[in-house]
Symmetry: C2
Subunit: 319 residues, 2 copies
Amino acid sequence: MSLIIPTYQDIRETHTRIRGLIHRTPVLSSSGINTIAGSTLYFKCENFQKTGAFKYRGATNAVSLLTEPEASKGVATHSSGNHAAALACASQIRNIPCYIAMPRTAPKNKISAVRSYGGIITFCNPTLRDREETLERILSITDASFVHPYDNFNVICGQATAAKELLEDHPDTEALFVPVGGGGILSGSAVSAKSLNDKIKVYGCEPANADDAYRSLKKGRIIPSVNPVTIADGLLTSLSELTFEIIRNHVEEILTVSEHDIVTAMKIIWERMKIIIEPSAAVAFAAVLNNPRLVHGIKAGVILTGGNTDLLNLPFAQT
Amino acid sequence: MSLIIPTYQDIRETHTRIRGLIHRTPVLSSSGINTIAGSTLYFKCENFQKTGAFKYRGATNAVSLLTEPEASKGVATHSSGNHAAALACASQIRNIPCYIAMPRTAPKNKISAVRSYGGIITFCNPTLRDREETLERILSITDASFVHPYDNFNVICGQATAAKELLEDHPDTEALFVPVGGGGILSGSAVSAKSLNDKIKVYGCEPANADDAYRSLKKGRIIPSVNPVTIADGLLTSLSELTFEIIRNHVEEILTVSEHDIVTAMKIIWERMKIIIEPSAAVAFAAVLNNPRLVHGIKAGVILTGGNTDLLNLPFAQT
């Protein structure tokens, strides 16, 4: 099977297509955090993106590219998190149906987010197999287009626009730190960064408790995580063939961080920057703090991937 | 006694003086919140100001205006909150001593904030009388300059620059909602707003549990709060002669809100805007939500006064 890898030209065309549909999110800095990190950090605030996460970029790109006959049948996916809300919101704006196979154990706030955007939820058991079978049934009944959360060319092109914007705003960026779950935002960011300036170092940042990307890059083949448990609930998924292929070619290294590192990094961002990020979004900053040798004295971009967290169940008391 | 009221010329000169010392904080909007409020709201994000609150504007203005002989002796104040941290930080930057009389019951995070800026703390009992007596002793020993948190011309001129920036960024603003405790930010905002456009309506927003401004405006004379208890811990103080005089002349009305209103408003801002504000900062937005008749269909500014809140003790579970 030959994989079709997004080029920078694809990403540029994507950005032109979705620019009016997304927020160009701000890039924030904090002198206090720069002092802590010993470097100049540019935080790309995708927690301020529509639906509260970068996922909206990929979802709205995929929805935009549907033909009218395809669109009329709607889109579908299986997800318990930000991709589901993003796809539902993008579909609502195009006024097409969006079907979501969602584990019945999904957090209430995620369920209500999807419903608030008009998503049509089918509950299933919280296993990958049941999610996939439920999705298959939905697809066979509706003939909707499946929009995979990351193993999808158009989704990766959309996610890639976040790093493109960051590097347009700060062309002096020397390194880029990006969380990795299934690899959509990391692979997209890597293509954007290396295309704009092949000297930029790109690091994938992963919870040690869900370190399939780390292990897959070491072994040179995909080794999925099996039932990973981490507070970074957006990073439970494993690389696909497509994201693995891009990451092995364009990413320097995968940096892993502990659960404690994630909560500490999240708390520093909340306290110093006064912005709300979810645990998954703290993983890249945690990797920066863990690896001073990689950032000392340089200018580094950090992608804050999202801000959807349950305010009634914050992890700070546990630190 | 004749009071010297700041003019817009004073505020303009202040802004020129402190512009390089403060952050020009962003003005954010949220389409979701606009839908909830039935109006277009411009949120001035002083939670992103240095030291996490608008108080830095007034403090740094007062510190800037000290002569060299005055500066060498330092500054002093009594405060358990954001003014103390702001004055300590502004003093640290000018490299002068800053003495704070602080109740021994002050929250640990406030104490450590003041210390992190090099503030010299003298602990006292948590009564106004003991705070004032402790301050008197500090002043008699050090000959430092007392910088009152709000009953101070230069402090009011500094606080006034926040509304000035908001109205420069959004000259179409038709109404302005500002929290009121001692009245520094409200009186400064009112002078800025009415000078730029005398049609702008200015509303003071106050916890019903600490409603001295509401009662004082009704009666036409200052009626201080006695031991008020509210989650909005930045708004416990009462108007001074100076702030009362400005507010009675330039503010349309004081709007009061319940403790429940404050927490609800705070939660909406956290969830929708993904930014951290403290309870006191939610009071103006709570008043907007309580008074749809005042904002329906118009463009209104809301000052988010600060973002210093104890992340280990959030109020959301109580709603």
